[in-house]
């Protein structure tokens, strides 16, 4: 008899699940999103979204995973099939394999940068090399070229993939759980050290009052607490802005790794009576600790201390701290004297641990699929994951990041997650039945779930998700005029998304004409971002442009010539993504057909009478 794989301990499982959720976004995206969306007031919709969507979905995914595991499935096609019992559910479950493969192909690339940055920091390389040049060296980034690769970058990427495959091939307890038990405490320790050192920065202008701290830094222009104030000062007017609520719900969604299929997979290795409520909540709150408390105390305070509030406000206006984290921090750490190499190593080291514990969770569902549905051994399924990864990782590493990289990030890393989460909520709460779902969540629970969550999971969470899905899909540009220069008569506009279409009805502002947003699903599908870029570049070439000179004209024409090539690359990568999805569908179809031919199809699930729960599930 084959020994079934299990987690070795509850703490290990919590750390693995928390590691899955804690990723680069906790330290780079959250602070920038919060600062760009109302500071402390952003945390109000953020916590509301955590309660009505995040935590309920965590319990739903854990319970679904454990249920599927009892029926011999460890990946979403099988788990959805065992719950839905209609043929199409297993194909909807394919999203949980497909998105992991596509996300892993670019996420591992970023992970390899964190490895390269931490090693280079420790060697003191950033004393001599500006971070932007180092970034270009490892990515091979050349403006307006379809090619973007470098040998050192490819070597680091290959090394990173091999490390992940090696860890995955060691199994749950000896691989993922062990790495999480080492990586998560180190990540927290590194983050605490950087945060404390950052908050102890005293700008030279305050030396007379704070000299006793011995951290007086003549290069610092402001107190790090200015950065904390920027993050935490509540701007309550932002609560009336629908854009802020959507941003908060989106942040909760992505930070908890919901809708990926990795939580289902990890939970499927639990026993029938193992608790999912307390264990799932522990992982979710650990993620919040890493995101809000640690993530909120590093990026902005240190950046504001050295660059000033205005510069950081401009850098985070787009809601991303990626530029500060990779391009600015290595330079800022040079102000820390002998601590500089260690600080760089700790910062990129913590980003590496955050990334690897998440990337392992992307590989595991695909491995589990090959193991359970095709009977592959663990090493063989790890290699199969690697083989499937290569055709998608190669274009990410070789081609311009605005093609495969960005497209994979949006379609698999954003849109597909919302689709899968919406589908799973409908499946669990409505198809499986809320009474059965509630009983499944409560089975073996170490903590009582308040009854109000029964109604939240049944009504509020699906509505919340459907609203997010519609908002993402149909997102309008929402261009509103925010000012006219009295002298030049130049009009300043701002893209405000859904806001003017909602608040406009209450007479607050004029409702603009409808145009698809460049970052909405339909807008991206129609290449609206490229069209807007083309319009802007063509305006620069107009003879009326006072800044036009031969150098600007040459570079603008080069950019214009690059746009059609970029569009072609995007068409190819969309074709590749569709092919990958159909390929997974083919594998699912084949394995189910084989299962049916062998007579190993699971028995019919007994139907629940309304208001009653079935005492014991039918097990194969």
């Amino acid at each position: 008899m084959a020994k079934k794989e299990r987690w070795a301990s509850r703490l290990g499982l919590v750390l693995a699940m928390a590691g899955n959720a804690v990723g680069l976004g906790n330290f780079l995206r959250f602070p920038a999103q919060a600062a760009a969306n109302g500071g402390g007031a952003f945390l109000i919709p953020y916590l509301v979204a955590l309660l009505v969507m995040g935590v309920p979905l965590i319990w739903v995914e854990w319970a679904m995973g454990r249920y599927g595991g009892q029926h011999g499935h460890h990946s979403t096609p099988g788990i959805f099939d065992s719950i839905g019992r209609r043929p199409y559910w297993k194909y909807i479950g394919v999203f949980g394999l497909w998105s992991n493969l596509i996300i892993a192909s670019f996420y591992l690339y970023i992970e390899s940068w964190t490895m390269a940055y931490s090693a280079y920091s420790l060697l003191g390389g950033f004393q001599f090399t500006p971070p932007d040049r180092f970034f270009d060296n490892i990515t091979g980034n050349v403006p307006n070229s379809i090619w973007a690769f470098s040998v050192p970058g490819l070597v680091m990427f290959a090394l990173c993939i091999m490390i992940n495959i090696f860890i995955l091939s060691r199994g749950l307890a000896a691989g993922i759980e062990l790495v999480s038990k080492i990586g998560m405490p180190l990540l927290i320790l590194f983050a605490i050290v950087i945060a404390i050192r950052g908050l102890l920065i005293v700008p030279g202008s305050e030396a007379a009052t704070a000299a006793s701290y011995n951290f007086v830094d003549t290069k610092a222009v402001a107190s790090p607490f200015e950065g904390l104030r920027f993050l935490w000062e509540p701007k309550f007017t932002s609560l009336a802005d629908p854009k802020v609520w959507l941003a908060a719900a989106g942040q909760i969604f992505f930070t908890l790794s919901i809708g990926m299929g990795s939580i289902h997979c990890y939970a499927s290795y639990l026993r029938e009576q193992d608790d999912v409520v307390l264990t799932g909540s522990s992982a979710a709150w650990t993620n919040e600790f890493c995101e809000v408390i640690l993530g909120g105390s590093i990026l902005l305070p240190i950046a504001v201390a050295y660059l000033g509030l205005q510069a950081v406000q401009n850098m985070t206006a787009g809601g991303s701290g990626f530029g500060i984290g990779f391009m600015t921090f290595p330079t800022l750490f040079q102000n820390w004297g002998v601590l500089a190499p260690v600080a760089g190593f700790l910062w990129f080291g913590l980003l590496f641990f955050a990334a690897i514990t998440s990337s392992l969770a992307m590989g595991q569902p695909i491995m589990s699929f090959f193991q359970t549905e095709f009977g592959f051994s663990r090493p063989k399924s790890a290699l199969a994951f690697g083989a499937m990864l290569l055709p998608f990782a190669a274009p990410v590493a070789f081609l311009n990041s605005r093609s495969f990289f960005d497209e994979f990030d949006y379609w698999a890393g954003t849109f597909a997650l919302v689709v899968l989460a919406t589908a799973e909520t409908v499946l669990f709460a409505w198809v499986f039945g809320m009474d059965r779902a509630w009983a499944e969540i409560a089975k073996g629970a170490d903590m009582r779930v308040p009854r109000v969550f029964y109604y939240i999971i049944k009504y509020v969470t699906p509505v919340f998700l459907i609203v997010i899905l519609i908002a993402f899909t149909l997102k309008p540009e929402g261009k509103v005029v925010i000012g006219v220069d009295p002298v030049t008569k130049q009009v300043t506009t701002e893209d405000r998304g859904w806001t003017p279409y909602i608040t406009g009805w209450f007479g607050k502002e004029k409702v603009p004409g409808w145009r698809w947003a460049t970052d909405g699903m339909i807008g991206l599908l129609l290449y609206r971002d490229l069209a807007v870029e083309r319009e802007t570049l063509e305006k620069q070439l107009l003879p009326t442009n006072p800044a036009l000179n031969s150098e600007l004209e040459q570079s603008t024409r080069a950019k214009l010539a690059f746009l059609p090539k970029l569009q072609t690359l995007r068409q190819i990568d969309r074709g590749a993504m569709v092919f990958a999805f159909l390929f997974f569908c083919g594998l699912v179809w084949y394995s189910w057909r084989k299962r049916a031919a062998n007579g190993t199809e699971p028995p019919e699930r007994p139907k629940a009478e309304k208001g009653k729960t079935i005492p014991k599930e039918t097990k194969r």
Binding site: M1, A2, K3, K4, R6, W7, A8, S9, R10, L11, L13, V14, G39, G40, A41, L43, L47, G72, A222, S223, F225, E226, L228, R229, W232, E233, P234, L270, R271, D274, D275, L278, T279, S281, S282, W285, T286, E288, F289, V292, I293, D446, M447
Partner: protein, 43 residues
């Protein structure tokens, strides 16, 4: 801390309090629970 406004400090303390209280409560329950995973089983 003199650079922080009163509203910012209140917001920070409230949100940090909610998160820390929940996390510590969950870990307290988890680590004091006698139920554990693990052990062998066969299918």
């Amino acid at each position: 801390m003199s650079h922080m406004s009163r509203e910012a400090v209140i917001m920070l303390v409230l949100v940090w309090g909610v998160i820390l209280a929940n996390m510590l409560y969950c870990f307290y329950r988890l680590l004091t629970s006698e139920r554990q995973l693990g052990g062998d089983d066969h299918e």
